[in-house]
């Protein structure tokens, strides 16, 4: 390019605007532009273009990115696969990456869920293992209890209902090494119309708590629950005040009893009295 000053090429003018030029030549270009208003105007227009472009996209650098940073450590190896067959495959590479990422997340979720379920089953097994045993005080049941042990324990439970050799009945002093006289007694509710629907064992304060659930065609279900008491003292029945799901509970013969059901309080008391009488009269015969 020929001007009034030193010779300056078109490339040098672009380099001048873009800052890609030696310092020595920069002074020469400045001298040239000072003497060539037309070229100076052109260079000024380029400079404005540069500023406009930079200003237009400045927010992108400081704005939020569409994906989370930092790059996830497990993210590698996904996009590249989509590009393996050349750039054409990459057109959908990112979508494939998303799909695989979600698939991986779902797989991980299932794995975690399975692990949690297994852990819960294991813990439940540990917690419920003693409940499978009869209400005796023989201590916790081993998790790996075999059938022979179970049979023995079942027979012990039955022998607790056999008449003791001495006249002492259900006494703590009764001998007989296999007889668990401290086992709570679960009487049958002597009421017409009630039908035993099931037995439920739950963790209690002193071992396990057993509940007999009775169903009635006319009333709501009733549960009679018992667990071994910490002390041998007896108490009078007390009624909780959260009716209609009422409960009445008492302590009797080394066990805690509770009768619960959505029935009137008077009915609940009547049933409790009959249970108490049956427990009191229990002799194992």
């Amino acid at each position: 390019m020929r001007g009034h000053g030193p010779l300056v090429s078109e490339a040098e003018l672009h380099g001048f605007v873009d800052g890609d030029m030696d310092r020595g030549r920069r002074e020469a270009v400045q001298t040239f532009l000072a003497a060539s208003p037309g070229d100076a105007a052109r260079v000024e227009r380029w400079r404005r273009q540069n500023e406009t472009i930079r200003a237009a996209f400045a927010p992108v650098e400081t704005g939020p990115l569409p994906w989370s940073l930092p790059l996830a450590p497990g993210a590698e190896g996904v996009a590249a696969t989509g590009h393996a067959a050349g750039g054409q495959a990459e057109a959908s590479g990112s979508h494939a990456w998303r799909a695989r990422w979600f698939a991986w997340l779902i797989g991980l979720s299932f794995a975690c869920g399975a692990l949690l379920a297994a852990s819960a089953a294991y813990l439940a097994g540990r917690v419920n293992a003693p409940e499978a045993a009869p209400p005796s005080s023989e201590g916790p049941t081993p998790v790996g209890m075999n059938d022979n042990t179970f049979d023995t324990r079942a027979m012990l439970a039955l022998r607790a209902f056999e008449p003791p050799p001495a006249a002492v009945r259900l006494s703590p002093n009764s001998d007989g090494p296999e007889q668990d006289t401290g086992a709570p007694i679960l009487p049958n509710l002597p009421v017409e119309g009630l039908k035993l629907a099931g037995v439920r064992a739950m963790p209690g304060e002193q071992g396990q708590m057993l509940c007999l659930v009775y169903a009635s065609p006319d009333e709501a279900n009733i549960a009679l629950c018992v667990e071994k008491a910490g002390d041998p003292g007896e108490t009078v029945p007390r009624v909780s005040d959260n009716f209609p799901s009422g409960a009445i509970y008492w302590r009797q013969k080394g066990a805690k009893y509770a009768l619960v059901g959505a029935i009137p309080e008077a009915r609940l008391r009547s049933l409790a009295d009959r249970v108490r009488a049956q427990v009191e009269a229990f002799d194992g015969r």
């Binding site: 873009d18 227009r45 380029w46 237009a56 996209f57 927010p59 569409p66 940073l69 590009h83 990112s94």
Partner: protein
């Protein structure tokens, strides 16, 4: 610094370049952003094998993005959002600007002016002006000589002429009269 940190540092600039290249606008573009993400992940995967210095890493990222963008265009897999660019690419540069729909807002005019450039001219302009690469670096990214790069720059600048600013001058909005009127 770990490769992941370097990539994360490069991500915003790479995103800026991709959006400018694809849509001519700074706003989010699924096409451009996906492209960037794919480039980052690809580089992250191959990072241990590449063992690039940070400067070379940048050149590698921009080279990859530019190439993949070209490949996508060539494959004709442009999405709807890049429709204008595809049209421009196939027609070839500012001479095809007349085919583009008439942009309304200054932002659209700015984007249309960028997209009206030929792809290779736009690449050169954005790498040098927007991303601040030296001529040598830009030429390396585009795999062309310095002379060719400057020629493309010159063509782009001549075509842009007075590029409109994307944002309109801030004037107080003229209050429009309400369309609700009391009818007696």
């Amino acid at each position: 610094m770990a490769l992941r940190d370097d990539l994360n540092l490069c991500a915003p600039r790479l995103c800026r370049y991709a959006r400018a290249l694809v849509t001519g606008q700074p706003g989010p573009s699924e096409f451009a952003d996906d492209l960037v993400h794919a480039v980052l992940l690809r580089t992250w995967e191959a990072g241990t094998a590449l063992r690039l210095a940070r400067g070379d890493l940048q050149l590698h990222l921009y080279t990859l993005l530019t190439e993949w963008h070209r490949e996508r265009l060539a494959a004709g897999r442009m999405g709807g959002k890049a429709h204008m660019e595809k049209e421009n690419f196939s027609a070839g540069g500012p001479r095809a600007a007349g085919n583009l729909p008439v942009p309304a807002s200054p932002r659209d005019k700015f984007a249309a002016a960028l997209l009206a450039l030929a792809l290779e001219e736009r690449e050169a302009l954005l790498l040098v002006v927007l991303e601040g690469f030296s001529y040598a670096q830009a030429a390396r990214i585009l795999k062309i000589s310095r002379t060719v790069l400057i020629m493309r720059l010159a063509c782009a600048r001549a075509a842009l002429s007075e590029i409109p600013a994307p944002e309109a001058p801030s004037r107080p909005a003229k209050t429009r009269s309400s369309y609700l009127r009391v009818v007696k």
